[in-house]
Symmetry: C2
Subunit: 284 residues, 2 copies
Amino acid sequence: MNIVSDPRVMQREAEKLRLAGKRLAVVPTMGALHEGHCTLLREARKHADCVIVTVFVNPAQFGEGEDFARYPRDLPADTARAAEAGADLLFSPDAAAMYGDGYQTFVTVEQVAKPLEGALRPIHFRGVATVVAKLFHLTKPHVAVFGQKDAQQVVVISRMVKDLDFDCELIIVPTVRESDGLARSSRNVYLTPAQRKEAPVLYASLKGAADAVANGERSAAPLTAAIRAAITSRTSGTIDYVSVADGDTLRELAALEHGQHILVSLAVKFGTTRLIDNIPLTVA
Amino acid sequence: MNIVSDPRVMQREAEKLRLAGKRLAVVPTMGALHEGHCTLLREARKHADCVIVTVFVNPAQFGEGEDFARYPRDLPADTARAAEAGADLLFSPDAAAMYGDGYQTFVTVEQVAKPLEGALRPIHFRGVATVVAKLFHLTKPHVAVFGQKDAQQVVVISRMVKDLDFDCELIIVPTVRESDGLARSSRNVYLTPAQRKEAPVLYASLKGAADAVANGERSAAPLTAAIRAAITSRTSGTIDYVSVADGDTLRELAALEHGQHILVSLAVKFGTTRLIDNIPLTVA
């Protein structure tokens, strides 16, 4: 596996590969690679001759008081994992190379970045959209692979790709879960053993909502109420939000319509560790 | 000359040309092509196998009350001019294809977009940066050619290209002028004969400032005072601004330093017609 840290070297390499007729896939990550990321890399492999994984803890997407400084970093472990999962190239720039002196350009996706995670993290998706635009320019992918785990990120990036005419196909991979249902996340390592035991309730409550919709429920209120009740009664977590929203616009819904794509999502804090999860549904 | 209006067709064509090893240049315009644009096209020719001219009156860069509706449009004339100046492909999308339903993504360049034109036109450069990002994604240029006439636009786009890692070289072409010094502009057609006679004072006053700097003037205040005095005494125009700024950051300067790149610029209104002009200098 080729390892590149210089953005200009990355860009030249990507251009060379494209000119040679290779199909390129990129999997943008912040490192701390786990089985979820490896699943993205294996999916990328199916769509490309060359799989590029980017490892960059992006300062622009962390607000003040968030966990930028303590976000887990372990490049040797990431390198081993990425190679094992079949990546051909690992691009790991440093922050100074990505955001140099006088840096001042940002990509903003407006409405879909505002609710849910955006309501609590006002600059988060600006940082995400900006770094993904930069990474797309540097790695020149035909295909980019993201996980459904970060559902709003998927909506924001899909909107950016469409609006800014990026010539890149997005592939969204279903959330990879532990055997008890907990979504894989680099932040799970922060959970205490007691919190770790409670955390599967998040997914169980989302599945409860999905089952209710499958059984004919067409109002959002009982769905969010049931999720809230499950989390409140069965965990020590504090709910940030529970949402039933349109899957494309992320507008909160009251009633569900036949054929509609919806996103049921939540964020819950266990102590200082914040977990998110979601289920995308089509109303049958 | 190939004429394309569909963005997806443009993008496929650009990709095909790149894969064939062609070097592509783009010259983004809002149409109403005049000798200034033709100079850009001829410059582009020197750097590329395929010269793409885009003709798009971009609604996103016009504020309320600006001249979007009355901006001159004449595609048949533009087509003839572009072909004559050696363009290989004219890309002329319509606004609905560029800004479809639910459009909500914008590229913002911060500090350098705020003074001068940006102070009077708060969303202008957001619109410019956004449409140039889109046009770069659609036309996939190796080289893009802009005119020095829109000096702040050059600074904004240079900053965007650097910050967002666009793999595109910018070439800036000196302002093309009438024989009496007036900068060529699509908006010159709005001038009355009397205004047209006064308008060359703008460039003459800028040249006066350049001469003063060449002769050792190192303070900005006398430069702007002399420009203001010339325009006020010799024209019926109303001054929007006269500026002596750092050429990269566009911060207004008090003192000039040896070796510094500076931009002397102005905007003057003749009735409802607003003219801009500038001279970039290196302090000798």
